[in-house]
Amino acid sequence: MRGTRAAGLTRREKYDAAQRRRSLLIAATSTALVLAALIVFIPMAPGWEKVQSSFFNGAVLAKSFPKLLDAFLVNVMIFAWSAPLIALLGLAIALARDAKSPALFPLRLFGAAFTDIFRGVPVILTVYLIGFGIPGLGLPRPWNSPYIWGSLALILTYSAYVAEIFRSGIDSVHHSQRAAALSLGLSERQVMRDVVLPQAVRNVVPSQMNMLIALQKDVSLLSFIGPVEIFRQAGVFKSLLANFTPYVGAALIFLAVTIPATRYADYLMAKQSQARR
């Protein structure tokens, strides 16, 4: 046993353990202080009782919560049919923008125009224009449904972003992979399908997870053109009960979904950057 070793620990290990205990103690103390300050000082604000009764009213929350959950199913539904279509359209646009053959130039142009337009317009505007504009053509049921056209607005907007992420993924695959695949006699299409895309898609999974989380929230924008999803439902309760607590309830329901999803995306991101090292 060497001189620096005592009680089974090296002096470095002892030092590190002491440092860890110290950091933990400091973090715990400061967190406790901040929490205590919030609990003590916020209720001292002059409007606190009013805010408490109109935003954090337990009775209102209990009354509205089940219906809010039901309405959230509408969000989930719109999300569930939009997400796969976004993935497909996004990939198609990404591939169109990378098309090399001159015959496909119009496709490239279309892809570029598509991403420029739908990334350049606020989502809510697209929702309004498509959601009100197309049913305004006087289409017969069910083709005048705001569910269809609202979803389409989300699909178009998100496809534009998702396409750009796919494109960055395609660029992230090293050109030597292409050279290796071509040297074996594979055609450009086969190189893309068998070698480049599988790696590109894998590289952008974490970024696309973040798009899914954003989409889940933006489904609420459809409330402005009709569908009674959770945000709209909370608004109904607000008018009915003259209380804002249903909005807090809606926020809680969103967080219950988005926080785990965000954590998972972060986890994937961290795993990936570790694999790169």
């Binding site: 050279a179 071509l182 040297s183 074996l184 006699g185 086969q190």
Partner: protein, 243 residues
Amino acid sequence: MAKLALRGVVKRFGDATVCDGIDLDVDAGQMVCLIGASGAGKSTLLRCINLLEPIEDGEIRLDGEDISVPGLDPHPVRARIGMVFQNFNLFPHMTAIENAMLAPRRVHNKTRDDVRDEIEALFTRFGLADRMQNYPDQLSGGQQQRVAIVRALAMRPDVMLFDEITSALDPQLVGEVLDVLLALKAEGMTMLLATHEMGFAREAADKVCFLKDGKVIEEGPPAQLFDAPQHPETQRFLARAVK
């Protein structure tokens, strides 16, 4: 007739002339080594032969057929020429055996079952029998490079090109890859190598070409080129490289 014949091959990148009128013959079953400093044009020449780069002037003939005609479909030509790269370039999302089966399946429309026996035999032959189901990042550099050679061989190429295939390897892994080249030479594969392994070139090559600034300065059997170089540039290069 030479298996592979280059006549006056010129390759430019913008203003830089990387291959400046190269003539070269590789006969069937020969191993020819290209030596020269980095930037002499060795790698670019190999990429031109495999039609990964178009050439500006000259001709490249494979079995007498001009494969450098502008507008020629490059894919069937590449399928006849195997190439192995310095950095292996295995497909990281596929197992070793999937790497080797991809091109026969796609280019020759074979099924996995059609080619499995032949490819497994190649893996076994090069000491990789227990590595077939591994992904590239689970393999050592030497193993990855041997898988890359198997992947190229799986297409049953007429000619193999090797682009400094041991340069990215730890010194103790170089031998296992060079052994594969010796085995291929023994069975009569036609091979063109860009290499910095002077000892290997001297022992194994049928012909050695010294390149500088995109030109073949001197060529000949290894004994002659290494022991009695004629051109002062060759003498200067070898004096530095062999020490």
